[in-house]
Amino acid sequence: MSTTTQNIDTNAAAPVADLRDCGPEGCAIDWLSSKRHATEVDDITAFTQFTLEQGWGDGLPAIPPTEARVREFLAASERYPDEIICTLPPNNAECTVEKIAINAVMAGAQPESMGLLIAALEAMAAPDFELFGQNATTAPVVPLMLVNGPIRDALDIPYRHGCLGGDATSALAIGRAVRLVMRNVAGQVVNVTSQSTFGTPGRVAGILFGEWEERSPWAPLAERRGVHGDAVTVYGTMGTMNILDTTSQTGPEFLEMIGKSLGYPGANGFNTSMPYAEILVAINPVWAQIIHRDVPQLEDVQEQIWRWSSLGADYLTTNHREQLEALGRVIDGRVYLATTPQDVLVACCGGTGGLHATGFHSFGSCLTQTRAIPRSNANKMQTTT
């Protein structure tokens, strides 16, 4: 196994394989500015070992980001490689199209995913998303990505049975690409910057899923947030929490069960370090129809979940209650998981077997962001053929 490396002059001219490789206008110069490392590229096992030695890898097999592969990826993106998309904390380094492409190639993501990757990273870099806190915290928080629009099918993003894990889809590599960008560009590295006590499986390949819009009684989540069509919503989640209900028969019963299940004292939304929080609930299409039948207005659905997920202050330990009282968080004897009913986010997805909902507790003060996904020619071709 060879892990040979040598530094190459980044200014040296490299063969230009394709005129499209540096942007929509084409050019004849090398715009790839990343440092080159010479290493074994045919043996995936050897290259994966190399990524670990370099501190680039996550331990899973990695695709060597050769110049040819990165150029091919960039050609599909129609973006210039030196375009700065955002800066990502805690490294506060510039996240360029080129760096996204390199990490996406390593993850095994398809070039068609570039638009989604850029939109998701732009959303995560928004100051109100508080990635700074998420990437340093002891919590296991990870930004989940919920996709709306036709691009769900173009990229094979799961939104039906097993949408949160277990489905065989190339979209897994998109989630992994975002995680590699977090590692290599944002600098979220365990016990270096990230102090996450336990971490979470979602920090390996991300949490990427779609909304089953065709079965949802509600408008798509992104549309409710002002973005029509292809869009990604990012939400800082503490993980997934299953809610089983084999008993309820009516919408209000399901909502009470969902709400009460979400409200537990150790949720971040009840912590004094988080002055406000949202909550996201994924509801299966079977329950969604029953809830919609009995509670037609989504605002009422949100209000009921919000109300049922609150806790009586006397349920908390004295120390916890006193700290929350001092912060004015106890209202009429209750403490609320989400700040207002509007902070309860609802999405419809999952299999037609019903019986389960999934709660996603928020990290807290990170505010959910939604961005439109620009379509590349590669996407357009895939969805029109």
């Binding site: 040979t4 190459i8 990343s34 440092k35 080159r36 490392h37 010479a38 290493t39 074994e40 590229v41 045919d42 043996d43 501190g55 680039w56 060597p64 980001p65 050769t66 990165v70 904390p89 805690p90 490294n91 506060n92 510039e94 996240c95 360029t96 080129e98 760096k99 390199i102 990490n103 390593m106 100051p127 109100d128 508080e130 700074f132 806190g133 998420q134 340093a136 915290t137 002891t138 919590a139 590699l180 290599n184 560009v185 600098g187 016990n191 270096v192 910057t193 990230s194 102090q195 996450s196 004094t272 370090s273 988080m274 002055p275 406000y276 912060l327 807290g364 003060s365 990170c366 505010l367």
Partner: protein, 188 residues
Amino acid sequence: MAIANVLDPTALRADDITTPGPDAGPLAGRTVGIRLDEIWRAWDWVSELWAAEFRAAGAEVVFWRSSQGRTGAEGEKVALALEEFLDRIDIALVGLANCGSCTGWTVHDALAAAVRGLPTTAVCTDNFTELAQNLARRGGHSGLRLHVLPYPLNEQQRGDVDAVARTHLAGVLQTMGASLETLAEAAV
């Protein structure tokens, strides 16, 4: 076996200030600003005891309690309050870095003070020292002064925390580059 070039996937901020910034010097006649938070009562207790010592030496001490709500309208209020706090002080003592995100915000606020040229010291607990150093480097100021308190701290009773504060008084003054001599003593 085929050797070829692969492209480096990493990025790092290039600029870095490696020096600690100005010493606080004698505290007499100066305004020391202590940044508190809404999480760590132990830091409140340590700060109270240190503030009493600073005041006894002729300093004025003002407190500002930060919120972790750094986003949306709340975030804008906190950012404004931080600026107003920094406007009022000569010396910054910023804590407490005792968890992941609160270490982040402690370092963030300390860097905001340091960039104004204020003598600035961040305070962390032992388990978060490396994180604080790493975040200061990534914030462009690896030389940021950092005083380390023992861990666990917030889990201790008041009397034990007060003992820690007393034990660490000389150390934090040293980190700050500060002294408790009065104006008269300093003039001699």
